[in-house]
């Protein structure tokens, strides 16, 4: 978080406390994961963008070993940019080798981005 602190200071918004900023920052993407044998369910809430995608990438890398079915629940994902698509794509590539991946409940906005970018054909969307 050091970079964000520095950045915060440079930009000089002294009126907001560092703690409040950190809280808000972390809340931009919430990741819940539940592993049951080879079944892994990952629920995403908030925004999957340039800033938050590394968090998801790290999480996936840490838990994907031995997973045969990976389910993403996107019902609370409001926003996805190309950085987020990149992380989902690399998860898909791993799962193509060791099992399968399912994308559940995308919101209308996120579904539209999958459609426009051709990812609707790559992901199994339910």
């Amino acid at each position: 978080m050091l970079l964000e602190y520095n950045n915060f200071k440079i930009l000089g918004q002294e009126s907001r406390s560092l703690l409040a900023y950190e809280k808000e920052y972390k809340n931009m993407l919430n990741i819940k994961d539940e592993k049951n044998g080879g079944d892994l369910i990952v629920e995403l809430e908030g925004r999957l963008d340039t800033t938050t995608s590394p968090q998801l990438e790290e999480k996936i890398n840490a838990v994907i070993d031995g997973v045969s079915k990976l389910t993403f629940d996107l019902k609370n994902l409001e926003y996805i940019s190309s950085a987020g698509l990149r992380v989902l794509l690399s998860a898909q590539k791993v799962m193509n080798k060791q099992g399968r991946m399912v994308v559940n409940n995308p919101t209308e906005e996120v579904q539209e981005i999958f459609d426009v970018t051709g990812f609707s054909d790559i992901f199994t969307i339910q």
């Binding site: 970079l3 190309s82 898909q92 970018t117 051709g118």
Partner: protein, 145 residues
Amino acid sequence: MKKSFECEATIENLEKVMRFVEGELEAQDCDRAHIMQITLAVEEIYVNIAHYAYGKLDKEGKTIPDTGIGPMELDLMTDGGQVYLTFKDEGVPYNPLEREKPDITLSAEDREIGGLGIFMAKKSMDEITYDYKDGKNILTLMKHI
């Protein structure tokens, strides 16, 4: 109405840029769907500038990402039912619109993410124009709202 935002083009400043754009559009009573499409384009364009505009060049003249920092200016203007966003940077002359369109029909194994950002920006805006003037890359995004 015209508002400007200036910062060093770094990934760390992305959130500030997004907050600026979102805040201004909300103040204009722009609806959620439009705000999302516009901020998506802003993220993709800004991130490209942050990674590449001030990067050093390798032997083949290709930009090495994240090897330099410089200023970026974003003007947001609304005019009737249209919103214009103009990005200016003083980096290497680069027209992202000339970038080859990604093949969006490839399978997961063959898909590449490069070029997808600008493609998504084009899809979510109504018009994007590029100009190079007075040593600046000037990219203007327009959307009917």
